[in-house]
């Protein structure tokens, strides 16, 4: 039987605030246990939540970015359950009236020109508080509870079950990850748990109209685990169904060591969360003016920017997508083009995507930490463009700039004497010398070996220390050999 996979994602994005969603404790990562857990976070008797405006700001920003509806009035509810990392015995979340409803995200599956576009619909996004952490190392057979993370603001983003493969799920998660960073509401640090996904996975016979029973894989904190967990889960579910079994709705955990999923024991008894409006928090009212203000501060979004890069700079869809992977990268590229001139947009793109990307990658640096500024790179691109230096010498200058050997390309070209030789007389002398000095290559070329021609070009370039204009060398050499 042919099976169809159905996947929906619930993503928790930690919002980029200084303080917690309902208290004035810090959200910084990595503090000693419980030193960032204030009275509200540890739920002392008598304390009360007071909502962080910035968290709401982030939610509005997200809602506008995905084209969702911002609720003029939304409600915080209590989700009641007992767990030691949940100090109040309830989580403050949003249930019936979330702050954002609807919206969509366009994703690209695959690479290069084979990439497919798809739109994933969003159900909702709501604000809630994170729980603390249970540490399971042994404390005389007990667990230790660290509440530093308790009360960290989260935006839970729920997609429709629109994805049909693990690759689509990963593409969606990547696009969402890029977007929340782009609009500056989440640092996207997956190791620190700032962005994590729960995947609702089910399978059904191809063509069926009803969804199969789903299992929810909790807390996937890398794209690789997301893919592995879904792939394993899909095979497992198909195996069960093909053996004549039935899928039971369950919450499961993915074990990265074994690559398998298993049902959570703590979720075995059916939960009854007893949601009700939190009496400590009046309705959250978002006036149109607030929305307008957030909209006005919104950066150009990746989709729009991609389109503009194609339109204004003549970049391919692939190049445009690559350069808009992050806002910092896109801004770097645009600064570079601005300094180099729009007609050099394509070479700017190539330098950024190829040479700079490779260099950053090797050094494990972010674009924000680039050793070469956008203006410096633009200077280099201009000199290659106007023939002052060749592309090959350009790479030398690029390295020199990265190593801090000069303030700009011109200084390095001057200091290191890298200016391209365009003087026809000088090039002719070099060509003549190469022909005279390599009779064997000349013979081979005349016998039809094109390779021999390249060897001769190499000799000329070597003799010029790479500075001879390669195009002129080519033309003259061929003329002389054929003439």
């Amino acid at each position: 039987m042919q099976w169809e996979v159905v996947i929906g994602l619930e993503t928790h994005a930690q919002l980029a605030t200084e303080s917690k969603i309902f208290s004035g404790a810090a959200t910084a990562f990595g503090a000693a246990p419980n030193v960032q857990a204030c009275g509200v976070d540890i739920a002392l008797p008598g304390v009360l939540p007071v909502l962080n405006r910035k968290a709401v700001d982030c939610a509005i920003r997200f809602g506008l970015a995905v084209g969702g509806d911002i609720a003029p009035r939304s409600v915080f509810a209590r989700k009641n359950y007992f767990y030691p990392d949940l100090p109040k015995g309830y989580q403050i979340s949003q249930y019936e009236a979330p702050v954002v409803s609807g919206g969509s995200l366009s994703i690209r599956i695959g690479q290069g020109s084979d990439a497919q576009e798809k739109t994933v619909r969003l159900t909702r996004a709501h604000l809630e508080e994170d729980a603390g952490k249970s540490l399971h190392e042994d404390f005389q057979g007990k667990s230790g509870i660290d509440l530093n993370r308790a009360g960290t603001p989260l935006l839970e983003i729920v997609s429709e079950p629109d994805m049909r493969s693990s690759a689509e799920a990963v593409a969606y998660a990547r696009a969402l990850h890029a977007l929340v960073r782009w609009i500056g509401i989440c640092d996207g640090n997956m190791q620190e748990g700032s962005f994590r996904c729960d995947a609702n996975v089910s399978v059904r016979p191809k063509g069926a109209s009803e969804f199969g029973t789903r299992r929810e894989i909790k807390n996937l904190n890398s794209f690789r685990f997301l893919q592995q967990a879904i792939d394993y889960e899909v095979q497992w579910q198909i195996g069960v169904l093909e053996d004549g079994g039935k899928i039971q709705q369950a919450t499961v955990l993915f074990n990265p060591d074994t690559g398998e999923t298993r049902a959570m024991r703590s979720k075995e008894d059916a939960h009854d969360y007893r949601y009700f409006p939190d009496p400590d928090l009046l309705p959250l009212v978002i006036a149109p003016a607030w929305k307008d203000q957030v909209q006005a501060a919104m950066p150009e979004l990746p989709d729009a920017m991609r389109e503009r890069f194609g339109r204004d700079y003549g970049l391919s869809a692939y190049d445009a997508a690559t350069l808009t992977a992050t806002l910092d990268l896109a801004r770097y590229f645009e600064s570079c083009v601005a300094a180099a001139g729009r007609e050099l947009a394509k070479p700017c793109a190539n330098w950024v995507m190829v040479d700079l990307a490779a260099r950053l990658n090797r050094a494990e640096l972010d674009i924000a930490q680039s050793p070469i500024s956008a203006v410096q790179l633009a200077g280099l691109v201009r000199r290659v463009g106007d023939g002052t230096i060749s592309n090959a010498i350009g790479k030398k200058v690029f390295d020199a700039l990265c190593n801090g050997e000069g303030a700009d390309a011109d200084a390095i070209i001057e200091a290191q004497g890298l200016r391209q030789v365009n003087d026809a007389g000088a090039i002719e002398a070099l060509v003549d010398a190469a022909i005279a000095g390599n009779p064997k290559s000349v013979e081979e070329f005349r016998a039809g070996k094109e390779k021999a021609f390249q060897a001769l070009v190499g000799q000329v370039m070597k003799a010029s220390k790479g500075k001879a204009n390669p195009q002129q060398v080519n033309e003259l050499l061929r003329k002389k050999l054929q003439g």
């Binding site: 009275g39 667990s143 230790g144 009046l282």
Partner: protein, 95 residues
């Protein structure tokens, strides 16, 4: 309506309250008396009435995103039943 013993046990389990059989029976009887009182609400037609969750009809007041709290772990853990290395200890949590 009336609550049976099973419902009392189920509710007590949700609320994490240990109850003995004798307590459950006594409680069931009392809860049924109370629910008989509560049931008076059911006679009222409330169609179209907006539920009222709060005593005042106002919007939520928000705070600025500022860190205002400092570390009070020592004070807070002085009153805790069991701690170690800055952590609250509980019987092993099973995920």
């Amino acid at each position: 309506m009336s609550l049976n013993l099973e419902q009392v046990f189920r509710t007590a389990r949700l609320a994490r309250l240990a109850v003995s059989n004798a307590e459950a029976e006594r409680t069931a009887a009392q809860l049924n008396d109370i629910f008989a009182l509560i049931e008076q609400m059911q006679a009222v037609n409330t169609r179209g009435v907006e539920p009222m969750s709060h005593a005042v009809d106002l919007a939520q007041r928000l705070r600025d995103d500022q860190v205002t709290e400092t570390d009070h772990r020592a004070d807070f853990q002085a009153i805790a039943p069991e701690t170690e290395a800055g952590l609250y200890l509980v019987p092993k949590v099973i995920e």
